[in-house]
């Protein structure tokens, strides 16, 4: 493996939490609403992708505890097919990182820095992320350690302050059209829950591997809870208007006006978003860089960090012509693509590995830690 750094299972959980929730809070509720309507708050409960992703990546790590993703692919399907799949996986991570980056850029330019060119907003964040990624997995892990408490505190502050303005009737009738609308609303959320499979890249670097399973399942539960809460407060404030906004949660922060003293709290949301997006982009950028380095069989990933940063910034611009086109892609074609790359591919690799090496699935299930 190229990366020699070690992180704790808790740090991995924090990284994954921050790699999923920021964009899910920002954009998913507006998209889900078109399917789920008043049952929007229930949609995150149907997190099928996560239920598949977590056991699959844990299983893969049990079978190949100290092998990286690209090495696992080569070991399982052979050298050439492994190289082809590894390349596809790298391109996919570059593309999805571009989408994440563009979401950040559109939000910052659309809501705050309206006169700043998109490329400047994207480029400046990618530059900071590149410096963090060059530091390795430990540095990204420590950023997650540092920013998660602030992220949670600010998120809960916004939720608490909006409570007096919520209308409980907006969620009625609960399950009025049965369970199906909320399940349809969860369709787009499967992209975010599928992202749990990025743990595949981090598990070989976890020092206390016996806690990894617990950490991943707790992270999964925390993500569901956060999304239920954010969807619920968004729905109870905006009602039928939820689907009409690009960033419904931002409207929530803008709406807060407590005793004419606590007002214009969108700056708080900006803080949440920049902290969260920084870790999210760092995590995806790191995976893209490490994936590329392993795919090209390099001894060190640091020389390609800045070239990949350039590519990533350009992908952020190129990924879609405008925000509407990107939202359309996220709510339609990105769902099957993400399902294929985040869920079907690791599950297939796991199935092939189990067939080829029967009985090896439980080698490290007793919590043995490989140093």
């Amino acid at each position: 493996m190229i990366e020699k750094g070690k992180i704790s299972a808790l740090q991995m959980g924090k990284m994954i939490y921050l790699a999923i929730t920021p964009t899910a809070i920002l954009t998913a509720s507006g998209i889900s609403f078109n399917f789920a309507r008043q049952d929007l708050w229930l949609s995150p409960v149907w997190a099928f992708s996560g239920v598949i992703a977590v056991p699959v990546v844990l299983g893969l790590n049990r079978m190949f505890p100290d092998r990286s993703v690209v090495q696992t692919l080569r070991d399982t399907v052979g050298r050439l097919p492994g190289w082809v799949i590894g390349g596809a996986l790298w391109l996919y991570y570059l593309y999805i990182s571009g989408i994440v980056l563009r979401e950040y850029g559109e939000f910052v330019v659309g809501a705050f820095l309206s006169d700043t060119p998109l490329i400047v907003v994207l480029g400046s964040l990618v530059l900071v992320c590149a410096l963090a990624v060059r530091g390795g997995v430990e540095i990204v892990g420590r950023f997650a350690d540092l920013f998660l408490p602030a992220f949670l505190l600010l998120f809960l502050l916004i939720v608490l302050l909006i409570i007096p303005d919520l209308h409980i009737t907006y969620m009625m009738p609960i399950l009025g059209d049965g369970i199906l609308p909320s399940m349809k609303g969860s369709l787009v959320l499967q992209i975010w829950f599928g992202e749990l499979s990025i743990a595949w890249f981090f598990l070989p670097h976890v020092s206390d591997r016996e806690n990894a399973k617990k950490s991943l399942w707790i992270t999964f539960g925390a993500i569901i809870l956060t999304l239920v809460l954010s969807n619920l407060v968004t729905l109870l404030l905006l009602g039928e208007l939820t689907g009409g906004y690009s960033f419904p949660f931002l409207i929530l922060a803008r709406y807060i006006d407590l005793a004419e003293f606590f007002a214009h709290l969108e700056a708080l949301f900006m803080a949440i978003w920049v902290l969260g997006a920084f870790v999210k982009i760092c995590v995806f950028f790191y995976i893209t860089v490490i994936g590329a380095a392993e795919w090209m069989n390099l001894a060190d990933y640091r020389p390609i960090v800045f070239p990949v940063a350039l590519l990533l910034t350009l992908f952020g611009v190129w990924v879609a012509a405008n925000y509407q086109e990107m939202t359309h892609t996220i709510s339609t074609s990105l769902i099957p693509l993400s399902f294929t790359m985040f869920i079907v591919l690791p599950a297939l690799i796991y199935a092939i590995a189990r067939i080829r090496r029967p009985g090896s699935g439980n080698r490290y299930s007793s919590g043995r830690t490989r140093k």
Binding site: F35, A292, M326, S333
Partner: protein, 59 residues
């Protein structure tokens, strides 16, 4: 060791050149179709199905 470093330098150079080429192409034609168009095309049947689901619901 030296051979390894050469490999990394070549990789960095190739990626930089790819970035410069993409930047030039985007500067020349900012409306150049992006990767999302290709993804839309690849999953066309699924896209149509999901669009129908959304349209039925939003009425």
């Amino acid at each position: 060791m030296k051979k390894r470093m050469t490999r990394e330098r070549i990789a960095a150079l190739v990626l930089t050149l790819a970035g410069v080429a993409l930047a030039a192409a985007l500067a020349y034609n900012p409306r150049m179709p992006g990767p999302s168009r290709m993804v839309d095309w690849m999953f066309r049947p699924a896209v149509v199905m999901i669009e129908q689901l959304s349209a039925k619901r939003s009425g």
